[in-house]
Amino acid sequence: MVNEYRIALAGNPNTGKSTLFNALTGLRQHTGNWAGKTVSLAQGNVEYKHKTFHLIDLPGTYSLFSNSTDEEVARNYIVFEKPDVTLVVLDATSLERNFNLALQVLEMTKNVVICINLIDVAEQQGIQINERLLTNRLGVPVIKISARNKKGFPLLLDTIDRIVTGAIECNPAPMTYPPMIEDKIKLIEPKVRELVGNEISSRWVSLRLLDGDETLLNEISKRLVPEEG
C-alpha cells in the first residue's frame, strides 16, 4: 500500500522511548525503566491524515556499534530494513550522551527525526533547548516532546507526515573526522560503493569496515552479495 509507512523508534535506554511508543500507538505494551528492557520488536499503528504509520520499537541501546545482540538488532533494522523514517528519541536531561547515538543514526540513514523527550523534566531543571539551532546544525527536524504528558505529538506526527510525503527533505549534516580517518575512508569508499551500490551508505560501511565490525561483514554478505551471484 502506498499509504503505509514504517517508522522505527531508536534511542538510549531510559529515554521514555517505550512510553512514546505506547502513547502514540495505544498498543498495550509494557514499558520499563532499566537498560534494554524492550527486547523483542513491538509494533503498533498510528493513523494520521489517511496514512498508516507502522511504528517499530527498536531495542534501547547506547550505541549502534554492534557490541550486543540488542545493538545488532537495532542497527540491522535501520540499515537493512530501511524504515521510511527513523525516530531517534533522546532524553532532554542527558543530551550529551544521547546525541552520540543520534549522530550515529544520522550516519546510517537519511530520513531521521530527532525527538527530544522529557522536555518538561528538563525545563524544571532549568535546561533550555534551542531546537531550531539544533535542526540547523543536524540537518534533520528536531522536535521537543513530553511522551508522558502527550505534549508535542501533533508537531511530531505532522513532521513525520511531511517527510514521507516529501514536503520536508532531510539532509543530515555529515560527520567529519580527523584527516587521518577521512583519508582512509576516501581510499576505501569507492570500492565499497561498487559493492553495496546505493542501497546503504557507503561512507558508513567504509567506517565500519575500518573499525573492524565483523558482524556487519556477515550481515552484508548474507543480505546483499548473494543477489549479485
Binding site: 531510559n14 525503566n33 546525541f99 550515529q104 535546561i127 533550555q128 569496515l209 573492524g212
Partner: protein
C-alpha cells in the same frame, strides 16, 4: 572484489586507535551541540535522585529497604488475593451448578458432561480464580517499582554478592522479572551484555518461582503451614513461608551460579556497567491499567490456552479404562514408588509431568487426578481442598516437598523453548532442564529421608 577482501584491506589500513578516535569525535560533536543549543538557566542538579539514592543505596538502609519491599510486595499479593480468589471460586462453582443442569436438561451423555464441565470447565476456572487475583496485584505493583527506577538500585546493591559467585548484578533484575514469568525473564537476560554471566542468569532463572507457581505455593503454604492461624496472622505466616521459599530459591541460584562458574562456565567475570537512571514518578493510573491489561491478561490467556487442553486430556486419561484401571492410574502407579521416596506420590509427579507446558495447571491436574478416583466433591473452598489432600495421605511434609519440587523443578515448556532460542544450543537447553530436575529430586529426597530417619513425623 568481495566484501571479505575489502574488509581485509580496510583492516590493513586501520589502526587500533580508530574506534577511540571515532567515538571521541562523536562525543566532541555532541558536546559542541549541547554547548550551542542548550542553556542552563539554573545550576540546579537533580538533587531528588541523589537524595533518594542516599537512602535506597545506603550502607545501613539499603538492604533492609530491599527486603521490606520484597516482603510488602508479597504480602500485598497474598493477602489481597485471598478474598477475590474465593469470590471467583464461589462464582464459578455457582455457575457450574447451572451448567450441569443445562447438560442434564439437554440429556447430554455423561462423558460429555465429564469432559467439558468436570474437566475443561473446572480446570480452567481453577486457573482463573487462583491466578488472576495475585497477578492483578503483583504485576501492577511491580511495574510501579520498575517504572519508578528502583530496580537498577537493587542491581547496584546486590552486585557484590552476584560477583562473588561469578554472576552479574543485573541478574537480580532478570530474577525479579522471573517472579512474573520465567519465559519472559529468559529473554530479558539480554540486558546482561557479557555472554558468560548471561548464561548463568538463563540457567538459574527457573529458581525464582514464576506467577504460575505462586498459586501452588500460596495454596499449599496457607493450607498446611499456616493452618493453625486465622485472619491477618494467617496471611502473615503464609507470606513468611513464601518469603522463606523464595529466599531458598535465591540461595540455590547463588549456589548453582557458583558451581557453574567454577566448572562449565569457568572464566573471569567479564565486563560490567550499570546505568542508574533518575527516579521518575510513574503515571500510576496508566501503569496499573497497562500492566494489568498486558501482562496479567496475556499471561492468563496463555495459561487458559494451555490449561484447557491439558484439563481435557487429564480427564480423558482418568476416564479411559484398560481393564479396570484408567490410563492415568497406570501412570500414577508406575510413578508412585519413586514419588514416595521423595515424600510425594505418583499423582504429584504425574501432575508435574503433565504440567510441563505451564506450571499453572499442575495443581488443577493433581486435583483432577485425586478426584477422579475418589468422590467427585465440588471444590468450593479451601477446607474441601485440604480434605482432598488429607484423604490422599498428605502431611505437612508432603506439602513442603511439593512446594520445593515446584520451586526447583525443570522450567516450563515455553521457558525451555525461549532458552533454546536465546542460547541456540541444545546442550545448554538440556542443562537448563537437567540441573533443576536433579535438584528437585535431591532436595525432597534428602529432606524426606532425614525426617523419616529421625522419625520427626
Amino acid at each position: 572484489m568481495s566484501i571479505q577482501d575489502l574488509y581485509t584491506e580496510a583492516q590493513a589500513l586501520s589502526t587500533a586507535e580508530l574506534r577511540d578516535d571515532v567515538v571521541q569525535h562523536l562525543y566532541e560533536r555532541s558536546h559542541k551541540l549541547c554547548h550551542e543549543g542548550i542553556s542552563y538557566t539554573k545550576t540546579k542538579r537533580d538533587t531528588r535522585t541523589e537524595k533518594l539514592d542516599a537512602i535506597f543505596t545506603s550502607p545501613i538502609f539499603g538492604f533492609p529497604i530491599m527486603i521490606v519491599m520484597l516482603g510488602v510486595l508479597f504480602y500485598l499479593t497474598i493477602a489481597g488475593a485471598n478474598i477475590p480468589s474465593s469470590i471467583l471460586a464461589e462464582f464459578f462453582g455457582f455457575l457450574e451448578g447451572y451448567l450441569t443442569s443445562l447438560f442434564t436438561y439437554l440429556h447430554a451423555p455423561d462423558w460429555l458432561h465429564g469432559m467439558l464441565v468436570l474437566g475443561l470447565y473446572r480446570g480452567t476456572t481453577w486457573v482463573i480464580s487462583v491466578m488472576l487475583p495475585p497477578m492483578a496485584i503483583f504485576f501492577p505493583a511491580f511495574s510501579l517499582l520498575e517504572n519508578y527506577g528502583y530496580l537498577p538500585r537493587v542491581a547496584f546493591n546486590m552486585d557484590r554478592l552476584f560477583k562473588r559467585v561469578g554472576a552479574h548484578g543485573k541478574q537480580s533484575l532478570t530474577m525479579a522479572m522471573g517472579f512474573g514469568c520465567n519465559a519472559a525473564a529468559v529473554i530479558s537476560t539480554r540486558i546482561i551484555e557479557s555472554p558468560r554471566e548471561r548464561m548463568l542468569a538463563i540457567l538459574t532463572n527457573n529458581f525464582v518461582p514464576c506467577n504460575g507457581r505462586w498459586g501452588t505455593l500460596i495454596v499449599l503454604a496457607s493450607l498446611f503451614m499456616a493452618a493453625n492461624f486465622t485472619g491477618g496472622i494467617k496471611s502473615l505466616v503464609t507470606t513468611g513461608v513464601i518469603v522463606g521459599i523464595v529466599l531458598f530459591g535465591i540461595i540455590v541460584t547463588f549456589f548453582v551460579s557458583w558451581v557453574l562458574s567454577k566448572t562449565a562456565l569457568k572464566g573471569i567475570p567479564t565486563h560490567y556497567t550499570l546505568e542508574m537512571p533518575p527516579y521518575r514518578k510513574p503515571k500510576i493510573f496508566d501503569t496499573v491499567i497497562r500492566s494489568s491489561l498486558t501482562k496479567s491478561w496475556s499471561v492468563l490467556v496463555r495459561a487458559v490456552k494451555v490449561a484447557a487442553p491439558a484439563a481435557i486430556l487429564t480427564w480423558v486419561f482418568a476416564n479411559i479404562y484398560i481393564g479396570d484401571t484408567s490410563i492415568l492410574m497406570y501412570a500414577v502407579e508406575f510413578l508412585d514408588p519413586f514419588g514416595k521416596m521423595l515424600g510425594l506420590d505418583g499423582y504429584i509427579l504425574m501432575a508435574f509431568i503433565l504440567g510441563l507446558p505451564a506450571n499453572e495447571i499442575v495443581l488443577p491436574i493433581l486435583l483432577m487426578g485425586y478426584l477422579s478416583t475418589g468422590s467427585l466433591t465440588e471444590v468450593d473452598n479451601l477446607v474441601d481442598l485440604k480434605q482432598i489432600f488429607l484423604d490422599h495421605g498428605w502431611t505437612w511434609l508432603t506439602a513442603l516437598n511439593m512446594m520445593l519440587f515446584s520451586l526447583l523443578h525443570y522450567p516450563c515448556g515455553t521457558t525451555l523453548l525461549n532458552i533454546y532460542k536465546e542460547t541456540k544450543s541444545k546442550k545448554w537447553t538440556f542443562l537448563a532442564f537437567a540441573i533443576p530436575t536433579v535438584l528437585a529430586i535431591l532436595v525432597p529426597l534428602i529432606i524426606t529421608q532425614t525426617v523419616r530417619m529421625f522419625d520427626l513425623m
